[in-house]
Each structure stands twice: as C-alpha cells, then as structure tokens.
C-alpha cells in the first residue's frame, strides 16, 4: 500500500479518533486505526468496540491496500510533521514507512485482518438534523454521567426519542446519573421527518464522540440500523451500539403542576453557588438552601475547613423551605442554560428541584436534594 495525503485533514481526523482509540478494551487492535487505500481516497476506521468511526479522505493512491497502525503514535508523528504532504507506504509486511524528503519513520503495524469492523450500513432511513443543534443537545446532557463503575444501562446511556407533539415534532435526549436528570429537545423544522416509536438508549461516551465529530455547522443525518445508532456528516460516519435496558418513565419527575416557581438571575445565582462550593469537599458535598420571606440563604458547613453563609433577595412568599443540595449539580445545570433568568421549582426537601430557563422550553433539569 502506498499513498500521499495532505497533513491538515489527516491530522484533524487523527486528533478526533484519539477518544476512541485511547479507550481501554481487551483488544490491542482497538488502539490502532485501520487505513485502507483505494482509487483516489483513503478510508480511516477506528473503534472502541462500542462506537465506531469511519471517514473517507482524498489522497493520491499509488498502490491499494490496508494497514492497522497505532493511532496515538501516528497522530503524534503527523502532528509534528514538518511538511504539508505526507507519504505513507507499507514497504514490507506490516512495516510502515511515513516520510517526506527529510523525515522518515518506520512503524510496526498490526494485522488489518484483526480489525473489528463496524457493521456495514445498508438499508437505513436517515433523518436530517442541524449539526449545531444536535451537538448542543448532547453537550447539555452528557455532563450528567454516573460513576465510572456504574454499569446500569439507564445511567451509562442517554435516552433518545422522537416525539410527535400536537403542533410540532421534536427529538429529545434524556440523561440521568441516578440523582439528577436532564431533558433536552430540538424542535424539528416543519418539513423534517423524525423517528417515532420506542426510544433507544445510546451510550453517553458514544454521544460524546458524536459531538466531537459534528463540528459547529451544517447538516447531519442520523438513523438506526438494528441495534446501532448512526450519524453521518460529510464523508464521516459514526456508528454506536445501542444499550439493552429500560429507561425510567421520567414524566412524573419532570412534569409539575404544583409548587412555587422561584425566579432568579442566572449569573448571580451561579456566582453565589461558586462561592458556596469553595468549602465543599468529597466528604461534605452538601450545602443548605433556605427559602423564606423573599430571601434565599445558602449555608455551607465543613467541619474540616469552616463554614460560609450568603443571602440573596428573591421573590418568594410561600412557606419557608430548608433543603440540602450538592451545589455542583446546580452549577452544571446553570452552565448549560442560556436564559438570563432561571426558574426553580422546589416542593420540599425530599422531592427533586426542577430548574429551567425562563423562556427556553427545550431544556430542563431535575435535581434531587440531599438528606439534611
């Protein structure tokens, strides 16, 4: 196999696949990228066995063939490469030369036959979506991730569903770590079609890769093939194996008729929480929120360090409520809300607090209190 390729495109894609190839699996081959040269392009494939990436890039191909080469080392070599054009050549069996006139590397490859192929895309119905919108959705919900050793499907995965509303159709992503839950939606343009029926569980790690590949503009296509979620943009495809399992019926958690809405300035609330979380440690994660008489008082107590207290004026005339929360959860949520005003809905110290922006109906978060 022998081809030459432009540095910048090649470098960009190699940087993007590091998340996949850097993930520990039981197979050494997943640390490699599979590069196949054919006609006038090369195809690059990477996988962590759950999420697969495939991209097609123009190259001038002298001899066809396939190699599997360590992705991290190849990336480092290309990143530092002092020329715009790079030649890659399998000089003998799995002995790969990367060079231009002045620089020359020889790298041992692995057997491309061992590479775990992602399933070929056959008859898939693709739906169109705005890349920036989908990326924003993903970013808003993957901050909610479980502990690394928590393998429950509804924690590892985010719930993806198409929803047919009365007036509009939307796609929705819901994510939970067991203590909080976020829901985000994208209303489809009137002419667009959306998947209907049962939702699916997509691993959040895979979605993170999707957001990394998506870039910030343009249109993507997504679809489902058996138990895979597929996203395509330009010549690049990501295929994520879906998780098997149930997602909780989250309607009761996020829908709320009663309770008092409490409106607050997002920035001021955020700064207050940041100050209050200075005394928060792994052992003392909670701070106490006290809503009473047009005032929010937050107190943080950490016997190892000390204590802090801050008050803020708010509109609140209902019964006083005292409730403990992990301030980190609020900061995470406030970070992904765009409105300047946020609305909290707290019922009591044992039920989740709902947080959303004043006007943006496409995002909502439910945060469970801590035991006082």
């Amino acid at each position: 196999m022998k081809f030459s390729i432009g540095k910048s495109d090649f470098r960009e894609v190699l940087s993007k696949v590091q998340g996949l190839t850097g993930r520990k699996t039981n197979l050494a081959i997943t640390e490699t990228v599979l590069i196949t040269a054919h006609d006038d392009s090369v195809t690059l494939v990477a996988t962590d066995l759950e999420t697969g990436f495939e991209g097609n890039y123009p190259a001038s191909v002298e001899a066809e063939g396939a190699i599997a080469i360590n992705a991290k080392k190849l990336h480092e070599i290309i990143r530092e490469f002092p020329a715009d054009e790079i030649q890659i050549h399998e000089v003998e069996n799995r002995w790969i030369e990367i060079r231009n006139e002045n620089v020359e590397y020889h790298i041992v490859g692995m057997n491309p036959e061992d590479f775990q192929q992602t399933p070929p895309i056959e008859e898939v119905t693709f739906y169109e979506a705005d890349a920036a919108a989908l990326r924003r959705m993903i970013e808003r919900i993957i901050i909610i991730a479980g502990a690394p050793d928590d393998k429950r499907p509804h924690i590892v995965g985010a719930y993806f569903e198409g929803v047919e509303g009365d007036n509009d159709r939307l796609i929705r992503l819901v994510s939970t770590d067991g203590s909080r839950l976020a829901k985000t939606e994208w209303v489809l343009p009137p002419e667009a079609t959306a998947p209907t029926g049962e939702g699916v569980l997509i691993p959040k790690k895979g979605l993170q890769e999707v957001s990394r590949f998506m870039g910030s503009g343009g249109t993507i296509h997504f679809g489902f093939q058996e138990n895979h979620f597929i996203v395509q943009k330009g010549g690049e495809t990501i295929t994520i194996r879906l998780l098997e399992g149930d997602f909780p019926r989250y309607g009761d958690i996020i829908e709320r008729e009663d309770g008092t809405p409490i409106e607050m300035d997002r920035q001021l609330f955020m700064m207050m929480l940041r100050r209050m979380s200075i005394l928060v440690t792994e052992q003392y994660k909670g701070v106490i929120f006290e809503f009473s008489d047009n005032k929010l008082t937050i107190t943080a107590t950490n016997p190892d360090i000390g204590e802090s207290k801050e008050e803020m004026e708010i509109d609140y005339e209902a019964e006083p409520i005292e409730v403990a929360f992990n301030p980190r959860f609020f900061i995470d949520t406030l970070n992904v809300i765009e409105d300047e005003r946020v609305i909290l809905n707290i019922l009591d110290a044992r039920r989740p607090c709902i947080v959303r922006g004043e006007s943006d109906a496409t995002y909502l978060s439910a945060i469970m209190p801590m035991k006082i």
């Binding site: 393998k151 203590s179 909080r180 909670g286 992990n326 035991k371």
Partner: protein, 371 residues
Amino acid sequence: MPITDPEGSRDSIRKIIHIDMDAFYASVEQRDRPELRGKPVIVGGDPDRRGVVAACSYEARRYGIHSAMAAVTARRRCPAAVFLRPRFEVYRSVSCRIREIFMRYTDLVEPLSLDEAFLDVTRNKKEMASATLIARAIKAEIREETGLTASAGVSFNKFLAKIASDFNKPDGITVVTPEMAGDFIDRLPIGKFFGVGRSTEARMHALGVRTGADLRQLEISDLLRHFGKAGRFFYGIARGRDDRPVTPDRIRKSLGKETTLSEDIDDPDRMLVILEEIAHKIEDLVRTHEIRARTVVLKVKYADFRTVTRSATLSAPVENADVIMTHIADLLSKTTDGRQKVRLLGITLSNFAGDAEAPRCHQQLPLPLFI
C-alpha cells in the same frame, strides 16, 4: 407441656410480632393490575431464558409452583400462568410504607427483607397491652393503606413468632402463648426450626429427630457433639427459649445474605436470577441501615460443599442492586460457573466506610426512577 418462663415472672415475658406479607411481589402485581386478580401470577425470570420463580400468587401455588423453581417448570405446571418481571422499586416503596406503619407502634423493628420484619411491642408507643390486638391493628392498617394482606405471628420470642406467622397464611394471625408453646414446638417438623436447613435436617433425621418433641429428647451433650455451637441453640429453642433481641440497627462489619437452593443447579443464568434476588435484599438492608460498603463478595458453595469467594472493591459505596449485580455477574464468571453444581449462593458487602470516610453531613438522595 407449658413452657416455664426462665425468669419466673410473667412481666419479663417479651411480646414479639413477626409480620410476613402474603405472596408479596405477586400480590403487589395483582393489586396494581386488577385483571390479574384470581389468576395464577408468577413474578420472576423469563421461562424462555431459564429464569426462576421469585414469587407466585396463591392461585399459582395450587399448581405446586413455588419460589426458586425454574420458570420453565412453572409454566409446564400451569401454562395459563401470567409471567411478570419483578418491579423491585415498587416493592421497595410498598415496603417502606409498611415499615412506617410498624413505626407507629414501636421503634424496635428489625426488617428481615422487603416483606418480613420482627417487631418488639413489649413496650409500645400506643401503650397497648395486647400484642395480638397490635398485630390485628397493623394488619388492618397495611390492608387499608397498601391494599395488601399480611400474616402475623405473635409470641414471646423471635423463633416462635416467625413460625407462627407461617401457620395460617394468607391473611392469618397465629398467637403462641407460653402455655401453648410446648405443644406447638412438639408438633413442629424439624425442618421448620430456625437454623435447620437441608443438610442439618438430613443429619437430624439420621439421629431419629423428626419433630420438636424428638429434638427435646436429645441431651445437650449430644447436640453439642453433633452440631457444635448450634447445638446449644437447638437445645434452647426445643424448650421455647430464644432470647435473641429485636435489633433495629445492628452495628455491622459486613452484611450478607445467602440462599441454599432447593435443588443444586449448574446453570449460570439461573444463578444470576437467584443472585439478583439476594442483591435486592441487600440493597434493602443498605438503605435501611444506611450502610456504606465498598466491597462486594460473591460466595458460591458447590454440591461437594467446597466454598469459593470472589470479591471486587469499588471506588464508591454500593448503593443498589443494579450496581451489585454488574459486579456479581463478573465475579460469577470467575468461578467455575456452569461446570459444577452449586448448592448455595450468597452476596456479602464489606469494607464499610469508617467514621472518617462516612459523610457526617448530608447524603445524596436518589431520584425516584422506575416507580
């Protein structure tokens, strides 16, 4: 023969109630789905995937179906039975509700699992003198507030209260007074005694002991010789003596549950179903006792009585059965699962967070998912 109180005084006699929900999981399902009432309902694994029965309704029991039976066998005995996957979150919330009811009468509540608990009502919050009336009131409140029935055993120690609750199921109440205890124990088959499992039962039979009356014939020295330390306990309970207290919050170094299987099995899928059941019991204890343990231990006893344990230590304390099960599945695959018959399965949590590690402040509450 009436049992004489060892202290000699009637005032020192305890009043212990054992409450056991009737066909708990199946009854909850029949309550929530009226169309299932009066029908054989089996809660447990999928018969097509070699699951086992976790619980079954009384209608199903008429077909000879019982818990821990292979679901496929159950289906063969009663093809019309409705098979359901367990909804542990629901059972747990019902269980919490029932515990709230217990707490109206006494703080001395020792839950054994989601559907059973001991209560010591010798002194109670309502200052009621009759434990029988308390048991009746609790049963009525359970029925009123959860729509489910329970059976109660009332006696002067845990052993007799537990046996009694099983005597008149469902929706029954059985009282064993000190005067009745002698006859009650005499007639009791040896397999029903606390601490007498399959193998002890066989050894008892070999000694000619088939009932409580037979057990009482044995001298303490014989019992000690045959059963070691447990012999002393058997000697006591044969005479109606069991002074184990009802302990709401035992300080524990570890917490475990195990099940001796009704038949030896070698199918890993069935083992996992049984382990899942155990994991949910453990989750319940974890919540009840607010335990923070980071090590999960799987115990497997093979048919030849060889026991192996496998353990995993996690980065954070175990919170629920799902977390336990993801590790147990890994651990089970590290045993000789599928190649040898297994007679007992157990899960233990250990490595409890000490005071230094335990949050002295607030604990994160979970969202009410899957309810």
